[in-house]
Amino acid sequence: MSLFPRAFFAALLALVSSGALAHKPSDSYLAISVEGTDVKGQWDIALRDLDFAIGLDDDGNGDITWGEVKAHRNDIAAYSLARLKLRSGGADCPVHATEFLADDHSDGAYSVMRFEGTCGAESDSIEIGYSLFADIDPQHKGLLRLEHGGGTRTGIFSPERAVQTFELERISALTQFFDYAREGVWHIWIGYDHILFLLSLLLPAVLAWSGRWQAVDRFAPAFWDVFKIVTSFTVAHSITLSLAALGVVSLPSRLVESAIATSVVLAALNNVIPLVHGRRWMVAFFFGLIHGFGFASVLRDLGLPQNALLIALVGFNLGVEGGQLAIVSAFLPVAYLLRATWFYRRVVFIGGSLAIVIVAGIWLVERAFNMKIITP
């Protein structure tokens, strides 16, 4: 028996192994955005595939380092971009690499190449020809995400479907509005720092301070307290979000992120050691200004369509408000019901606030010193 089992043995093995695809096949992730004649993109290609095609492991030790990837970036760009043909209105869209990064997908490390270019003509469709690795691995597929005018389409390239044409229809203002509103809801939902900040301010809303915390008698004061807090937070972050998104003001993101973490720490700490009470809406307003800058960075990452700036901005903002309202309306009735219990006052209120102080404190250290403690 040689190193490779006999042919028959492979079939015997197949009697149990057939179908057990044990590993992810080769894919690349291609994101392209088209605005007018401008084309921008990002192409994630598995390092293992690139190594097989052009050789990256120069020292032959079986490890691919960032240095080796960098040394080959011109080769990677030349090899891959020669296998991507973009055409618009009968004219080529030559693109060139602008930046190289790395990324980890579920099956290993990828080279990330950003590229851009300009089409010879504007058109209502774009033709994409994809032939990466077609000659060395016919099973390879290219997974495309095409963005245009705020809309996103996907496509799959394989040797059988190597050239595909995508219509670049105008996306209606309404669709665009809802797209951005959806993003807004999503970002408040996954933006734990904003949620925790809001919760820290809301937790005492069903209690009143008079030397010590006591349950409020009626729902109305709790409701108006929450109303004031949420409204002032909203007004404040809408102001800075708009200013930052329009490029009027810009702050370094590390500063903004650290300040947001600080705001969460302070808001939660104030529940345990009350310094500001009664006027928490002012706290909400002041720190809301900072949180607005945080939202703006999200919006910037999404990319603002220049032709529909206002629609996107209003949509995103309303989405954020909708997300907040959902959290508040889930929180307030439960908190009101439980306000007089020991559980609410000790476990939820004090315990919860302390937990928020700790989490946000770690964020603060992470963000201020650019290190990773709990953020994976």
């Binding site: 028996m1 190193l3 089992p5 042919a7 028959f8 043995f9 079939a11 015997l12 093995l13 197949a14 009697l15 149990v16 057939s18 179908g19 057990a20 695809l21 044990a22 590993h23 992810k24 096949p25 080769s26 894919d27 990002q42 994630d44 390092l47 293992r48 595939d49 190594d51 097989f52 492991d57 032959g60 079986g62 490890d63 380092t65 960032w66 240095g67 990064l101 790395a102 990324d103 997908h105 579920s106 099956d107 290993g108 490390a109 000659d135 060395i136 691995d137 016919p138 099973q139 597929k141 997974l143 996907t154 996954i190 734990y192 019901l337 439980l338 219990t341 559980f343 939820v348 953020t375």
Partner: protein, 402 residues
């Protein structure tokens, strides 16, 4: 009030759970980064350039590059890659093998060696009808072609065409070694209600065969373990699994079967050391995550997320090769019974091995929908498959109908 208290605790833990999961989802989501410095190792290659395997592949590739129509080199290279795909569990190599065969890939009747190789690669991608057409043509051209007959047996077994599989195994007598011919028939008998005889025949042929390679030992021992389980002999099954495990090779399918055995026996803690280094393999990561979930290990959530993103990626590229595993993933790790059943049903249309029947029966039981698993119930009736646990599941399912 006490009721409200309990419910708020429930909500709080669920909320925290959702929080933890969502933060993981974010972590798994890819974000490009700039590595700190040039020495950061981004990727380990599975085959080092200095390995003898890599050297041989390089030489063959160079030979083929000089003459792409040299069929002998092309078929040899494809074979090497196919073996690598099996041992590494990486389907990329099947793509490389296909590329080597390119000049013959679209021919109606390629020469025999290329024809059989093409069939082998086609079946890997679950193109069973296409593979069968090639294999039938190959055995017609060369009735002594052991390789083509074995693959015909393998595909007929996967599709539960037992009568045809019996003919395939019979054709192997005299053109293959005794162990292989007996192995083929024993595998078939072990699945069709004759496990006791199959166990005896295979262990005797194994004893007679003398010194064999670790690969073959692992194959035989794993099959003996499975047959023991079907005969209800748990202790004997475990002995065979352990003997196979201590052979000096890595075999994913043994590890998968052994892990399933331990999970079924309620011993998830023993699965962890077995699979801890197999993060890359989807089928083994699935078992690892099931064990970790049973043990309430903090690693479970991370591994479930990794699996989810791999299944999502497969869906994105339009693959339907993982449905059996994906069904199991949905049933046991996500608790998404409905999706699990749909996947298990679709999988059953393509593959009809005992484990395909098992997930279909279990998903149908979870959904209390016996009609959905009619195919597997019929199969159990027709094949006479003996496994006591599987029969019990089927009985429970049938009881729902009454």
């Amino acid at each position: 009030m006490s009721i409200t208290r309990i419910s708020i605790i429930g909500t709080a833990t669920e909320w925290l759970g959702a929080f933890a999961l969502a933060s993981l989802a974010l972590a798994v989501q890819a974000a490009p980064y700039l590595p700190k410095d040039d020495s950061v190792v981004l990727e380990h290659l599975p085959v080092r350039p200095s390995d003898p395997v890599a050297r041989e592949l390089r030489e063959l590739r160079a030979g083929l590059a000089a003459n792409p129509r040299d069929r002998a080199i092309a078929v040899r290279l494809a074979e090497r890659y196919f073996a690598l795909a099996n041992s590494e569990g990486d389907p990329r190599y099947v793509g490389y093998a296909e590329a080597a065969l390119k000049p013959w890939w679209d021919l109606a009747t390629p020469p025999l060696d290329a024809l059989v190789m093409r069939a082998v690669l086609k079946q890997y991608s679950h193109d069973f009808p296409g593979a069968m057409v090639d294999l039938v043509a190959a055995t017609r051209e060369d009735p002594q072609n052991a390789r083509a007959w074995s693959w015909r047996a393998a595909i007929d077994m996967v599709q539960a065409n037992y009568d045809q599989a019996r003919k395939d195994c019979a054709a192997l007598k005299g053109i293959e070694t005794e162990l292989f011919a007996v192995g083929c028939t024993a595998y078939l008998d072990g699945t069709t209600g004759k496990a006791a005889g199959a166990y005896r025949a295979l262990s005797e042929a194994f004893a007679r065969s003398g010194e064999t390679s670790p690969e073959i030992k692992v194959w035989v021992l794993t099959r003996l373990a499975e047959m023991s389980l079907r005969l209800g002999n748990v202790k004997q099954a475990e002995e065979h699994f352990r003997a196979a495990y201590f052979e000096p090779i890595n075999d994913q399918f043994l590890l998968g079967a052994y892990s399933d055995f331990l999970l079924d026996q309620g011993r998830p803690d023993e699965v962890i050391p077995l699979l801890v280094d197999w993060f890359r393999s989807d089928i083994l990561l699935l078992r690892l995550a099931i064990a970790e979930k049973a043990l309430k290990s903090p690693k479970a959530a991370e591994h479930i997320e990794a699996l989810r993103s791999r299944f999502d990626a497969a869906a994105l590229r339009g693959d339907k090769l993982h449905q059996q595993e994906e069904a199991r993933f949905n049933l046991y790790l996500l608790g998404n019974k409905e999706k699990a059943l749909a996947l298990a049903q679709e999988n059953w249309t393509l593959q009809r091995e005992p484990r395909d029947a098992r997930i279909l029966l279990e998903a149908a039981l979870a959904m209390k929908d016996p009609a959905a698993a009619q195919g597997a119930l019929d199969w159990l009736e027709r094949s006479g498959f003996e496994d006591p646990a599987l029969r019990q599941t089927a009985e429970k399912l049938k009881a729902l109908r009454r």
